[in-house]
């Protein structure tokens, strides 16, 4: 499978351990998709999440908003999703008649099995089926939660034997299972726990009760390799016995500079170990994209644009 296929799917579910830059990567993929001519919808699954900040677009709402030409963004909150679901899918008139339901909504969402999850994943499914967009990119919850979402249609099927929700869960499960339509993008950094979690999730995706394809892995914040082997030996010498000579040459002790360089070398080295473990643990044929640590003061949309350029290079 060539990596270009990544953006030719209809639904990309982007996930990864908290702190790996999942939101920025999801935004980067969506920006790239839009720039290559795809009508793209970026969905944030947590309305209090960071997508609005990353896009510098203020708070995202349930109403899709155009961020850049061809790129729309929205945030899925469960209550709006429920309202929309009842209205559009079940033809239930708005608000008034679901008063008791709305009032006790927290219960429904928190305690009824999979409701929150099915509504979140259902919204993505409907946007895909609706056909208004070429690609839907979901900034999904962190790895621990995303499995609950992905298997929600099947969990519902286990519990419900009839009703409209049951019917919808069926097509939703089929949509998620279709490898050419839906793919999960795992984001990780070259660190111990994110890599372990990414590999665990890659494993779980194949489980019978999940059954969603892994479209690709994005390794974020890869540090540059400072030295080859021979150069590193020279560096160790300079930082050790050569420290005095270096101080003499500069006329001042560069301890702080050497400390920073040792850290950079050490981080790169441990990162390389984790990258090797990642590659070894992934199923064959899964494309792995590498994004460099940006070392920039950029945050927000400028960082997203730079990331999108690197993604374009990788694809």
């Amino acid at each position: 499978m060539s990596p270009v296929d990544l953006l030719d799917r209809k639904l990309l579910v982007v996930t990864g351990k908290g702190g790996v830059g999942r939101t920025t990567v999801a935004a980067g993929l969506a920006v790239l998709a839009a720039r290559t001519g795809r009508r793209t919808l970026l969905c944030e699954s947590d309305p209090a999440g960071g997508m609005g900040t990353v896009l510098e677009a203020g708070r995202l709402t349930y109403q899709a908003r155009e961020i850049e030409p061809g790129l729309h963004a929205l945030a899925v909150d469960t209550e709006s999703a429920l309202q929309e679901y009842l209205q559009l899918q079940l033809k239930v008139p708005r608000v008034a008649r679901i008063g008791p339901l709305a009032r006790t909504f927290d219960f429904v969402a928190n305690a009824a099995p999979g409701v929150r999850e099915i509504l979140a994943i259902g919204k993505l499914g409907w946007e895909v089926r609706d056909g208004e967009y070429d690609l839907v990119v979901a900034d999904a919850p962190a790895t621990g939660h995303v499995i609950a979402q992905l298997r929600a249609p099947r969990a519902i099927n286990d519990l419900l034997t009839m009703g409209l929700v049951r019917e919808q869960a069926d097509w939703l499960a089929a949509l998620l299972a279709d490898r050419s339509t839906t793919g999960v993008v795992l984001v990780t950094t070259p660190e111990e726990t994110p890599v372990t979690e990414a590999l665990e999730l890659a494993d779980r995706l194949d489980d019978e009760d999940v059954d969603v394809g892994l479209a690709g892995v994005v390794v974020n914040r890869v540090l540059p390799e400072l030295f080859g082997r021979a150069e590193e030996e020279v560096f160790q010498r300079l930082a050790g016995p050569g420290h005095e000579a270096l101080t003499a040459a500069l006329g001042e002790d560069p301890s702080g500079v050497l400390t920073a360089a040792r850290l950079a070398v050490g981080l790169r080295r441990s990162g390389a170990t984790h990258l090797a473990a990642l590659r070894a643990g992934l199923p064959a044929g899964v494309p792995v994209l590498y994004l460099p640590e940006l070392f920039a003061r950029d945050t927000g949309i400028r960082a997203v644009h730079r990331l999108a350029e690197h993604l374009a290079d990788e694809l």
């Binding site: 908290g18 702190g19 947590d46 239930v92 305690a111 419900l160 009839m162 726990t193 500079v257 441990s270």
Partner: protein, 389 residues
């Protein structure tokens, strides 16, 4: 004693919280290890998701709901001799719920009916937020047992860390809510009030009548345990909000986690919970902010060839000093200078975040960025030492 050590010495419960990926679990484990080695006593770290290699390295690989003692050999291997005992336990949501039901069920028949209900597994296992409540329950149980001098708790991965704190209250609200009464009512006496009729009409259409009956039956069974649940939830809230408990907010110095940390600091204040300290994790070396070091790095990047030949004349890099050597040293020096420049940009960005956190007026402790992962007790103790300030 710095603020954190003071905290570990005086409190009974320390709760770490913060955004995902900032090193909450590591910080909790390091705090517990620090307390056990330096202060003594029986210290328990209650974790949600220990990094497997770390758990293995501590000799508690098969960590489960029961507390396991970290063997002294594990400490010996890292050159430390603990004054006290370090114990670890993991939260298993499913197990936690089962225990809860066993404890509160009024009779064996109800207990078995609940455990066998088809909804029970789904509700307890798949319901993400039930982690929070069970964590709180378990904490209460362990604390009440009086077996531990100090319990360090690593909060579950909540989408909003505050969910964790609100879990007991939410659970209590839920069990006393009118909605639950409405839901449970029809399984008793098929009379549905006018108010709830539209709800049933919709719920029926959406979920199917059979499912609704299942739900009603399940909560009907649970109803017998409400009082126990509510009472416990209130007790947990009390322990957390008095001076026995302190919260430690953990963050790295990136924008998003810092925003979450600040949100959490506010949330703690609003709830009159006690913030013990803010831990800044993975902080870059302070030398990166030093102007003179920056000037030296710039000279290395710009003047590498000249500096290299000077260095090589003083300290030959190989037995046969050659022009190749000088060239390679120049390359290395230039790269060292460039690398400093790149990291300095990040360090400066982080300094802004740090200043904002320090301005909040709470004790702030920085843990340096290590060049390796914290996967053994030795590096955990390195983090612990940094936490002492």
């Amino acid at each position: 004693m710095n603020d954190l050590e003071q905290l570990l010495a005086a409190r009974e419960i320390v709760v770490t919280c913060g955004a995902g990926g900032v090193g909450k679990t590591t910080t909790a484990a390091a705090l517990a290890a620090l307390a056990a080695t330096e202060l003594g006593g029986r210290v328990l770290v209650l974790t949600v998701d220990p990094a497997r290699r770390l758990a293995d390295a501590m000799g508690v690989g098969g960590l489960g709901n029961e507390a396991v003692r970290v063997p002294n050999e594990a400490f010996a291997a890292s050159g430390a001799r603990p004054r006290g005992e370090l114990w670890a336990a993991m939260l298993d949501t499913k197990q936690g719920w089962d225990d809860l039901v066993r404890r509160h069920a009024p009779d064996p028949a109800t207990r078995d009916a609940i455990l066998a209900n088809p909804l029970y597994d789904t509700l307890t296992g798949r319901m993400v937020q039930s982690h929070d409540y069970v964590a709180m329950e378990r904490l209460h149980e362990l604390h009440a047992s009086g077996e531990w001098d100090l319990i360090v708790v690593d909060t579950p991965p909540s989408r909003h860390a505050i969910d964790f704190l609100e879990a007991p209250g939410r659970m209590a609200d839920f069990f006393t809510s009118r909605f639950l009464r409405i839901l449970v009512a029809p399984s008793r006496h098929r009379l549905i009030g006018m108010a709830s009729r539209p709800f049933y009409a919709i719920a029926d259409k959406v979920l199917g009548a059979a499912f609704l009956r299942d739900i009603a039956e399940f909560f009907g069974l649970l109803e017998s345990m409400y009082d126990g649940f509510v009472e416990r939830a209130r007790a947990v809230e009390r322990v957390l909000s008095d001076e026995r408990t302190a919260f430690v907010v953990v963050t790295t110095l990136s924008a998003v986690p810092v925003r979450e940390a600040m949100f959490f600091v506010d949330a703690l204040r609003e709830r009159h919970l006690q913030l013990g300290a803010i831990v800044l994790n993975k902080v870059l070396p302070p030398g990166l902010l030093d102007v003179r070091q920056a000037a030296l790095a710039a000279r290395l990047a710009q003047d590498a060839p000249a500096l290299a030949s000077r260095v090589c004349s003083e300290e030959p890099m190989s037995d046969e000093a050659s022009a190749d050597d000088v060239e390679m040293v120049a390359r290395v020096l230039a790269e060292v200078g460039d690398s400093f420049g790149r990291l300095r940009v990040v360090a400066q960005r982080e300094a802004v975040q740090r200043a904002a956190l320090e301005a909040l007026g709470h004790p702030v402790v920085a843990v340096p960025q290590l060049d390796h992962d914290v996967v053994d007790l030795a590096s955990l103790l390195v983090v612990g030492t940094a936490l002492r300030g």
